[in-house]
Amino acid sequence: MSPGKAARVLPTLLKVGFLEAVAYRAELLVWVLSTTMPLIMLALWSAVAREAPVGRFGQADFVAYFLATFIVRQLTGAWVAWQMNFEVRQGTLGMRLLRPIHPFLSYAAENVAALPMRLIVAVPVAVVGLLLVGWGRITHDPALWGIWCMAMLGGWLITFLANLLIGCLALYIDSSEKFMGIWLALFFVFSGYMVPIELFPHGIRTIAGWLPFQYQIGFPVELMTSAIGRGQALSMLARQWGWVAMFAGFVTLLWRGGLRRFAAYGG
């Protein structure tokens, strides 16, 4: 499919995805409530830091960190692994394959289309965060904000491609949701979602450095909170996009092989 066609189709796909995202108001509310883990961690770590700082983190630093984590998580979410698993088992992936548009583009549009709803949650949190911690905790360097935009796109792509990778496994083994469970367990530990990575012991920090998870959350959060300078930011951005390229390669291979095995169950 040509980039031109993708650009022409995308607005309609995003509109449809958005309409689907807002179809159930109650479900939307439950989903909002289910994404508040960083706010819980914020309360927990703030309490711990009340007596004395933890590493370089005082109370205000934890507030800034976890509010940024909440915002980054809201804007880089994807759930296509579950979608693909369902569609492979039910055979409904076939209906997607019948359309003259790459299924990855339609999945991406559906996932991105929920962004406005996520912004409704993320923007007030960002405003509250700024009022609580002040401008001083947020980077003022426009270059770092530029890198942050790229890092957010990279973070979303890693999440989305990891989901696709696990989704494509379903084409080989029928059900791969448990792999998503393993991925999420590692994500919660090594991404900086629950604990800032720099608070880990040296050995675990080294392991985290070799894994993709910190590029989903920790890296963009550190950019927002002025935890790293331009040089380190560019170096990490290069590694993040290296992960993006690696995931994209594996997804392409798994998808091509998987389609040959797809059984299009049912019907």
């Binding site: 309609t12 689907e20 394959l97 019948l98 003259p100």
Partner: protein, 344 residues
């Protein structure tokens, strides 16, 4: 338009006996068997033809349609549709075809069908003017009315199927694969769908390939049928020829002024039924006129009709018995104009 030569599609299926012990054993050691869903079939279908694809459950009909629409990669064989190899799923090919499955849906479940139509317009790059004209036409032909503005999940099965068909035809496909399009629908809705499909074929010259367990669908739509059983092609030809071959007899239906004794009917032919003032006789084709004359002369006949045996009965007999010998890929590939082959 459609060329299939030596098509085979095999699956590896994991088999396990029921029970906990077998479940644990299957964790360590799995047994796979090869299922030959389609086992070497060949046929050709010309542009604008309407062909019924028949066979018992598990015969390989849906698998073949999925291969033709590019969803499945064949294990062996050559398949071409309008010059395209379906498994490549090129955009230009996908814009020419559509597979409608009565048990699967493409409509967006939580949104009104109008949103699916609009999405398909964008995806298939249908010019807005053509889209408006097509939608108007489909709305009229299918009687969609305000259905397209209700959430899909709130539509009845029949309403949904009408909208499914509309969504499938927004881009005016040249080739339409229909897999049980009337399944679960009431009789009047089946008739609406059948009429619509025929009109679409006639108006746009689209090629149709239809599977259905409702023989009324096949009788109304498909002059030619391809019969497949256990993955192998067993008949390819005119439906009328198949009926004549399987059930060479005709049915004489007598509407009587008063009930008659069965023994009086037996002298005329085989009695299929004899209920009060209506009797149905089965007689050889060449004996129809003699039977009719004798019935009129000796029985209190008010009216009578001569009919073919019901298609359901023909098919039951066909699938249950060995009326047709399987054809081989070498002999069954030249049947585009409805020539009957491979009949034992």
């Amino acid at each position: 338009m459609i060329l299939v030569h030596g098509l085979r599609k095999y699956y590896q299926v994991h088999k396990r006996p029921p029970g906990l012990k077998a479940a644990f054993r299957s964790l360590l050691h799995r047994t796979y068997t090869t299922v030959k869903a389609v086992d070497g079939i060949s046929f050709e279908i010309g542009p604008g033809e309407r062909v019924g694809f028949l066979g018992p459950n598990g015969a390989g009909k849906t698998t073949t349609l999925k291969v033709l629409s590019g969803l499945l990669h064949p294990s062996e064989g050559d398949v071409k549709v309008d010059g395209h190899v379906p498994k490549r799923r090129e955009d230009v090919y996908l814009k020419k075809i559509m597979l409608v499955m009565g048990q699967k849906q493409q409509l967006l479940w939580d949104l009104p069908p109008a949103e699916t139509f609009e999405m398909n317009r964008a995806i298939y790059e249908v010019p807005r003017e053509q889209y408006r004209a097509t939608l108007k036409e489909l709305t009229e032909l299918l009687g969609l009315g305000d259905l397209i503005d209700k959430p899909t999940r709130q539509l009845s099965l029949g309403e949904r199927m009408k909208c499914e068909l509309a969504a499938a035809l927004i881009h005016r496909p040249k080739v339409l694969f229909l897999d049980e399009p009337t399944i679960g629908l009431d009789v009047s809705m089946q008739a609406v769908i059948r009429t619509f499909i025929k009109q679409y074929n006639e108006r746009y010259g689209a090629t149709l390939m239809l599977t259905s367990h409702y023989m009324d669908d096949v009788a109304a739509l498909c002059p030619r049928v391809i019969v497949i059983d256990k993955g192998q092609l067993s008949y390819d030809g005119l439906l009328d020829d198949l009926v004549r071959r399987i059930r060479p007899e005709k049915r004489v239906v007598l509407y009587l002024n008063e009930a008659v004794d069965k023994s009086a009917l037996l002298t005329l032919g085989k009695v299929v039924s004899n209920d009060h003032a209506m009797a149905v006789l089965q007689v050889p084709q060449d004996a129809v006129s003699a039977t009719v004359s004798r019935a009129l002369a000796h029985l209190p006949v008010k009216d009578l009709t001569v009919e073919n045996p019901p298609l359901e009965e023909v098919m039951s007999e066909l699938f249950a018995g060995n009326h047709l010998a399987p054809t081989t890929p070498e002999t069954n590939g030249k049947t585009g104009n409805g020539v009957q082959i491979g009949v034992a």
